[in-house]
Amino acid sequence: MKTSASLVRDYLSAVEREASALPADRRQELLADLTEHIEVTRAERPDAAIGEVLAELGDPRTIAATALAEAGNGVGGAPARSDAGAPARSGKVHPLVPLLMLTLSMPFMMVFTDQPGQLVGVLFRLAGAVLLCTSAHWTPVRKTSGVLLAAVLPSVVIGTWNLSSGGPDAGAPALLANLAMFAVMAGTAVWLWRVRRA
């Protein structure tokens, strides 16, 4: 005759086994929720047999399958790819991240015009471009257009400007040019956001 503690343990380890495809934190959360449910139910219905409580909770396989399905919905990336394992990881960054990094690098560089500021801005823009390219949210053509418009074009234009007119803070024309560039980058980001894949 099994003790109720060992029945509960068996049940939870069955859920854990069936849910092995879940990310570890989700699996732990599910097990914690079920453990709490069992404890609360036993406190509220002290006379109920543990077998009954577990039977009402349901088949570990069904629970694990539901958890997997819900995890697929919630990741926001491509559920179809979630079973592909490691390669799917690269696309898991939220689509806003590269777009914000690309766009915000511009006002950042306009504010911090001294040397470390410019370098940080460029690195920020590069990181944004890399994240954009590795994201699962856009087709290769859109990624290329995005990188050209939001990273390469502004960098080339600003670089050329700085070399020809002696510095990033060269008065009103420079400010206007910067703002125009920023508008192009922001427009590109908005377009990429609109055409992203769910």
């Binding site: 859920v15 929720d33 709490e36 609360v40 406190a43 069904t62 958890a67 995890a71």
Partner: protein, 124 residues
């Protein structure tokens, strides 16, 4: 009308439940926070929405991740502390939206189900 195959009826009910369960769970939290076992009891008593209890926890977990509900622990007079689920503003907005579209949806389905169709199949 044929009596119908009971597994097929179960499948129809399961499909329906899948679509509406999360909104019913949100609706249960409309007036006050509820804890898991309490939510499950309410679903159970409804009959049609009763489901394998354990499958509601992954749903609650997703609602939490999607920021439709928040949770907080509260001590109880009997037994362990309970994790209470409460609607967030976006949870309330999602529930309001569902409440708005549901009557139209229900009426449309009713209309399909009750419109008389010419008898077929007898004369073939």
């Amino acid at each position: 009308m044929e009596p119908g195959d009971s597994t097929k009826q179960a499948r129809a009910a399961a499909q329906l439940r899948k679509g509406v369960l999360e909104y019913c769970v949100l609706a249960l939290m409309r007036d006050r926070p509820r804890y898991g076992v309490e939510l499950l009891h309410a679903l159970e008593e409804s009959g049609a929405l009763a489901t394998s209890q354990g499958t509601v926890y992954p749903l609650l977990s997703r609602l939490r991740r999607d920021d439709l509900v928040t949770t907080s622990w509260q001590e109880s007079a009997s037994g362990p502390p309970r994790r209470y689920y409460a609607l967030t503003d976006s949870g309330r907005a999602a529930l309001d939206e569902f409440t708005r579209v549901w009557p139209g949806f229900r009426n449309a389905v009713d209309a399909f189900l009750t419109t008389p169709h010419p008898p077929t199949g007898e004369i073939v």
